[in-house]
Symmetry: C2
Subunit: 701 residues, 2 copies
């Protein structure tokens, strides 16, 4: 890293002593004679289980052909990204998730780990790849059977069949079950008739639909023999070799979007388009030649969720990509904050480096801690995904856990990406607004991550419902007394760890060595109790509030649920935060090196306490924190931020980015060079006889 080189060459004279006058902690751990992280070891830790694949992907995207060019007009950008997809194919990047008999590698975890890194090159590339191989290709692979694999998988992998994933409609996004497109079976011709009955049922926002898609996996209500068997997926050709729509197919370009303009999103509609019966992707439901429907999953609801669940990888992938994109923003902003100077300290010495300001530490370092938590949580999610999809442990319960985990983590990381990138942008002032410094286009591109592949609030509501249902199962036979006991108990939190990453009650090691008295009540165990207790209490409160629903009319019950919707979503968010904290703690516990362990423990504490501070009023109202201890939380965070200040550059260097991933001029060392030049100019002027005296100094005389 360019900056690491700069830092290691720093002469001893740059050390800042207290007498030097800056209101600051030491700038580096080296200067502070403090424990220091082993940077390469932390990089390994962050890259996680599939570190090798990630490194391979990062090596590949050092090629400028993969980089986003800021300000490129939409049409050109779309073609550039399409050509990047072909490059990916050449590098073998499209094969990892597919079965070996078709030239794939059958390595699900590695596949997602590799794709996530593409966000560093251009998020449009990451998402268009996701459309082609993660959604369109996955639908054929996961929802189809051998004849479909034989017919199309190779063409999908080598990009001779670019395709759209036609699920969302203008009128139905998150509520997939209610889409309007129909696929009516005609036994006379043994064909399905794909039809769009009204404008709201147009397929919409589909990558590859506006220009490149030759085919689509179209989700539609399967109707045969006068019965609607619910949503199924069909392989439907869209365009001929010249790119013209096939008969009955029509569409529109979605035009300019807020970001991801390297992807040709568009709309599709179908006017009685006929496809062969065999184009039904029939793994979970089939129609015989005579029109008889069959499925090995009897319940229509469970069948629907099984089909949708097969496509969970999109959420897993977004969680990772958002985490990596956020890391990039933090790398740029914190590197700049360690070099940029502004305002003198009032002591007559040099201007102050941004990261020495209390406010600057407070605005950026908790976000860094959060991002670390996300890395650890994403690796757990990825491992769970791989275990299920590789078949190593593929049970309905494991699938459900995986979906719940993904639904809990994707909202948190995609929102954190937007908040963090924005804070980083503002922390770099005007230079942060220049497209070359990456923040603005990262924000624009990642904006949609919060609402696609499942709207964040809708996903959290799903998680909340799952938590409620676990709660109800646990207490199926319990009386009111034990319910009440549960509500105040501290230990029952473990109930929720069916969907969690670790079992509660496991001893959490605490590595703080110089804890002050007020900090003693906010160590790891207490952080966990507070975070876990909050989930438990919130779910139990919502459950209690909803109990009368059973005796109400459907309309009244719906109104009652609606009155508690926001609380349930909050509870699910608390659950996600707990999962992140636990993953971070498990990660820290795996560390051997004492210095690394110490610094990462501080960082984990900063994360835990930031989550507690965010919900401080809740903890007080619910009797979890006394007023006095609550008041100490913010002060403890201030101290942790100051303590972590000298480690900031190490911690972002540990992301392992190379200059070809960063590319932002303000994080290249150019700012340090400018600052040094300016200070040298004034030093030389001062040493010469040419320096003007200041009016102020004259007036003092």
């Amino acid at each position: 890293m360019a900056d690491a080189a700069v830092r290691s060459k720093k002469p001893a004279t740059s050390k800042r002593t207290p007498a030097g006058g800056a209101p600051t902690a030491p700038h580096t751990a080296e200067e502070a004679h403090e424990p220091r992280i082993d940077v390469p070891a932390v990089t390994d830790l962050l890259l996680g289980t599939w570190a090798d694949t990630r490194r391979e992907a990062r090596e590949m995207i050092k090629d400028p052909a993969f980089w986003r060019i800021e300000g490129m007009p939409m049409a050109e950008h779309r073609e550039r990204v399409m050509s990047q997809l072909h490059l990916l194919v050449e590098h073998g990047g499209s094969r990892r998730a597919f079965p070996e008999e078709y030239g794939g590698l059958n390595d699900n975890g590695a596949n997602l780990a590799g794709f996530m890194e593409l966000v560093l090159a251009d998020p449009s590339l990451q998402i268009k790849s996701g459309v082609q191989w993660g959604l369109f290709g996955s639908a054929v692979y996961q929802l189809g059977t051998k004849p479909h694999h034989d017919a199309w998988l190779e063409g999908i992998m080598d990009l001779t069949i670019p395709g759209a994933f036609a699920m969302t409609e203008t009128g139905h996004g998150s509520d997939v079950a209610a889409i309007g497109t129909t696929a009516t079976y005609d036994p006379d011709t043994e064909e399905f008739v794909i039809h769009t009955p009204f404008r709201g049922a147009w397929k919409d926002y589909l990558g590859n639909a506006a220009v490149h898609g030759k085919a689509a996996t179209v989700f539609a209500q399967l109707i045969t023999g006068g019965v609607n068997y619910g949503v199924h997926c069909f392989f439907v050709p869209l365009r001929d070799d010249e790119g013209a729509f096939l008969p009955g197919v029509g569409g529109e370009d979605d035009g300019v979007k807020g970001g991801l303009n390297g992807i040709d999103n568009g709309r599709l509609h179908f006017d009685h388009v006929r496809v062969p019966r065999e184009n039904l992707l029939n793994r979970y439901g089939d129609v015989a030649a005579d029109g008889t429907y069959s499925s090995e999953i009897d319940s229509p609801g469970r069948r629907f969720f099984t089909m949708l669940g097969a496509l969970v990888q999109g959420r897993v992938s977004l969680d990772g990509a958002a985490t990596t994109g956020t890391a990039l923003a933090l790398y740029i902003a914190l590197t700049y904050a360690g070099q940029r100077r502004q305002f003198d300290s009032g002591t007559g010495s040099d201007e102050v480096v941004l990261l020495d300001y209390g406010k600057h530490q407070r605005r950026l370092l908790p976000l860094l801690a959060q991002n670390y938590a996300q890395f650890f949580a994403n690796d757990e999610l990825l491992k769970k995904f791989d275990t299920v999809f590789s078949g190593k442990n593929d049970t309905p319960r494991e699938r459900e856990d995986l979906e719940t985990l993904a639904a809990a983590l994707k909202p948190l990381s995609t929102w954190a990406a937007l908040d963090t990138i924005q804070e980083c942008r503002e922390a770099c002032g005007g230079s942060g607004f220049l497209a070359e410094n990456r923040f603005t286009s990262l924000h624009a591109d990642l904006d949609i991550y919060a609402t696609f592949e499942g709207d964040n609030n809708v996903l959290l509501q799903l998680v909340g419902k799952r938590l409620l249902s676990d709660y109800a199962t646990q207490f199926k036979n319990a009386d009111a007394a034990s319910l009440a006991k549960f509500a105040v108990g501290q230990t029952a939190g473990k109930l929720f760890h069916g969907a969690g990453l670790r079992q509660l009650g496991q001893t959490v090691a605490d590595f703080g060595s110089t804890a002050r008295s007020v900090e003693l009540g906010l160590r790891a165990d207490q952080q966990h109790d507070l975070l876990a207790g909050r989930v438990q209490q919130m779910i139990s409160d919502v459950a209690a509030a909803l109990r009368p629903a059973a005796k109400l009319s459907p309309a009244e019950a719906a109104a009652l649920f609606n009155a508690h919707q926001a609380e349930l979503i909050e509870a699910a968010r608390a659950h996600g935060e707990l999962l992140q904290w636990e993953a971070f703690t498990d990660g820290v516990n795996r560390v051997q090196d004492a210095g690394t362990k110490q610094v990462l423990t501080w960082l984990r504490d900063l994360f835990g306490l930031s989550m507690i501070e965010k919900h401080l009023a809740w903890h007080m109202i619910n009797g979890r924190l006394s007023t006095q201890r609550a008041a100490s939380v913010s002060r403890y965070i201030d101290r942790l931020a100051l303590r972590l200040r000298p480690h900031a550059q190490d911690l972002v260097d540990a992301y392992g980015f190379e200059p070809e991933h960063v590319r932002a001029p303000i994080a290249s060392g150019a700012e340090k060079a400018r600052q040094d030049e300016a200070r040298a100019h004034y030093a030389a002027l001062k040493a010469s006889s040419d320096a003007p005296v200041s009016e102020k100094s004259l007036k003092k005389k």
Copy 2:
């Protein structure tokens, strides 16, 4: 408004009764038989003191020639906006702030009121106009004297002299006093030599610098006779008639930015560029032919702040533009939320309109309340600005109050713009991400408002220092005992209203008619006590923490200040929130119509309680709210949101936007048409014999 027409034509059958099954409040006030706002009267109230000018500006920008075209490449966009500036000149839009003897209208309040509205057409147009007439033109007018006005004002007004405002440097943004550019007087030739001594001193991020600027007002350290008299402003020609840089002048294009790409931001540097002595804009400081410096302001610090203060209008203008831009986003998202349906309610009836969801009300309605507060506060700010700049009440104290007010309000409204636009974007899902629906480009363009014309955190720190200094003045002769008494007293809050909009202790009317018992403790008086008490306590806490500084070394004192920087910024933010609340309350008190007064009081309560909820832990830790009352705040907000639900469309219609201002297809009524078509399709199908039965219903049999 298109939608108002739709609503007034709504047939009686669309009324939703409780039996109708939706978990919802009535959709409109009409249906609810509740008090209802007088929409045109509220529009008048929101448009405020210069409503006529605003309406004139809104009328002008109905011309599509003023509209932003999404996705337009940068070079084209820049030329389009330049041509829009010429159109503005033709409409007389550039004359309002300038003196009558040069063809101006000398109407400062109207001038800013008119410019703010341009944000609806294209924020690039608003900001490029601001650069030309609000910054470059203002510098010549406010910092220059008659010869400068005679020479350049007409050319500035009619755009024959497009100019840049060259204050910021690559190395110095908010810290203007430390810029590196020098203007050294040469008595032999009676010229100033403008010079850029190092790369960090290049002027940067300047609108009109990359392409269009023929001249610039350049801020530089004025050096004469070997003495540096601090930052002064110089009129410096940049380019010849062919657009080529004049000798010694150089520059670079800033390139693509995160937004505002209709403005040609760039960098400038000067290599010993000579300008006549008379090009010093000499209102506050002059150099005689022999090099003698003179100024009617003796203190260099006060002179510097007086010059900068003359340019406060930029901040006033951004506060208003951010408020109007936010209103547009709320109009679009709330109109859509009232038409879009998603998920059925589980009662077998229609799908639910988004705004009927508890979470949707909770995420959008408090932002609407906040935006109303901003409108009222901005009008107060604008009146204060006009009073000072018209000379009606132009004292140093009034100027200082004006600057403090602007510094308190601009950060709050520009941050609220980004948060609100983002929430609106997400609340509209995929359709919110299409550029045609405005959110993404509004966010991109307004992003920089948070850090230009004074970084928001730096501005709030200025406000905090002013509050500290007012506090210190008040207690100059007070002993420790009365300081301590102050810290716990409730009534001392009025101290801070020197810089505020209203005097504390004034009776605050309370129009709640059906208050429940828990609400009684959170009415207007209590809201005010809580908000004002928080400012007072926070300032007094910081002041107490900083008291030891006087006995410390400069370095230790700086470190002590730094440890409390984030708290001081928080205190300033609390001050701004109080000012907004007071302005909102004053506005409500001016209303005569009972229905309007009732609904706006609810909205004001929602704003006040949202601010209290945001800082709930603080109020509990500091003994201002009991646990029980704190717990009731969120429930009260839920109730207020539900109570305001039927008024949401009225409240956004009251912004007074017309279709040419809104332009977003999702707020055009198209969504309602799609929903109606879909429901009609299913109704017809149900009535026919062709409807497929659902598999679920078969299984039930």
